[in-house]
């Protein structure tokens, strides 16, 4: 589905990999290794060179907004452009089901966005991205600020989306989470991406 060949930007060495539909790949690596740089380049938020295609169509062949609707990206600290939560969704009322699944209080929209907890905002940003039905989802520490229960809820929701064909590129610090959610695991260090076989060989 998503094919990346020699993707390069400052701080990132030429990177190539493929992500199949319904596949989840986990990416780990130390802070400052280039995880966020890679995700931002994949979402085309920063200039980068190399070939990135979705279902065989190079990203240059479609307008950038369309690319980003199809390749969703949820950063580690999601941004909000309005204090009213409902402004961030096309149909906030339609989110009641998934919000409940993610253990979000049904009265969450009575508070201003800046008054929500980091964990609530993180889950709501995930819902916001899922609402646009992306084909690929790039996640940067989606459960970083969450407790075990909420983490399990997020993983379960994403597993369901995955079985419906969503491809996920999941950045996490947690090795056990990587093993839980992902079929393949990547390791990045100093801007160099590797399959995790090498990571294990190094005894990490």
């Amino acid at each position: 589905m998503l094919a990346v060949r020699n993707l390069t930007r400052p701080g990132l060495e030429p990177t190539s990999f493929e992500l199949a539909g319904g596949e989840c790949v986990a990416l780990r690596g130390p802070s400052g290794a280039g995880k966020t740089l890679l995700l931002r380049a994949l979402a085309d938020l920063d200039p980068s060179s190399g070939e990135v295609t979705l279902d065989g169509t190079p990203r240059e062949k479609m307008p950038a907004p369309q690319w980003r609707r199809r390749v969703g990206y949820v950063p580690a600290e999601p941004g909000w452009w309005s204090e009213r939560l409902g402004d961030h969704f096309q149909d906030w009322d339609g989110q009641a089901g998934p919000a409940h699944r993610l253990k979000i209080s049904p009265h969450v929209d009575e508070r201003r966005v800046s008054q929500l907890s980091t964990g609530e905002r993180q889950r709501l940003a995930l819902l916001r991205a899922l609402e646009h039905r992306p084909e690929v989802l790039l996640l940067d520490e989606p459960t970083g600020p969450l407790d075990e229960e909420a983490t399990a809820a997020v993983e379960s929701l994403l597993r369901e989306k995955q079985s419906n064909g969503l491809a996920i590129f999941w950045v996490t610090h947690d090795k056990r989470q990587a093993e839980r959610v992902a079929g393949r695991r990547f390791w990045i260090d100093s801007g160099r991406l590797r399959e995790a076989v090498l990571e294990d060989a190094k005894g990490r």
């Binding site: 085309d44 907004p65 949820v74 941004g79 909000w80 961030h88 991205a129």
Partner: protein
Amino acid sequence: MTDYIRLDYWDLALAAALLLGVAGLSLALQLRIEKKLLIAGLRCALQLALVGLVLTKLFEAVSPWWTGLAALAMILFAGREIMARQERGFQPVWAYGIGTSAMLMAAALVTVFALTTQIKADPWYDPRYALPLLGMILGNTMTGIALGLQRLTEGARQQRPGIEALLCLGATRRTALLPVTRQALTTALMPIINSLAATGLVSLPGMMTGQILAGVEPLEAVKYQLMIMFMIAGGTTLGAVTAVFVGLYRLTDNRDRLRLDRLAGD
């Protein structure tokens, strides 16, 4: 315009003594503004004396070329002022380019419009009307553009997470930056909207005061002032909208990315 009271140099010296007086006050209170005050006062005197001389020559010549040259010089100076007022904004070359071209377009359009259809000077480029009119429109347009560009770049920096969140959900650069664009234009137009609203109640505009001091009937001066205010409002809006939109495109690229790396000081 016959019965106005001429000032002689002694009167001016008295007025300047006031400046010296407050400089002394600053010295006594250790405020350390006396030096800046005196230098600014001196600059003002020199610049105005020079302008007086130049205007006298220009008014005698009534040449479209010399008038145009003077107008161009004014616009280039104003562009420099816009550039200097950007703090961590566009790189100087871009601030100058965007500011000057937006101002050139807006101020020229509005000034020519006023000269040819309302004032009907003969010839229309008569520097006696063209240059003061351009000066007033330019001064305000310059402030509007400088404020608008500054607010645009500042807003894009501060609201980057929200802007990028919108971009990530498939918004175009225009949509994602619409809130910042609105804020920039509100800021740019605030001074002129305020002065439209407060004029006459709080302050008597300088030009009107000048005409009244020169012996013009108050109602005649009011008519002139109204025309000028409307021209200023139109010119400022045109200039600020142009500059902010060009700025918006400079702040983003054709892949709808927010390019804060194109700003100075990053």
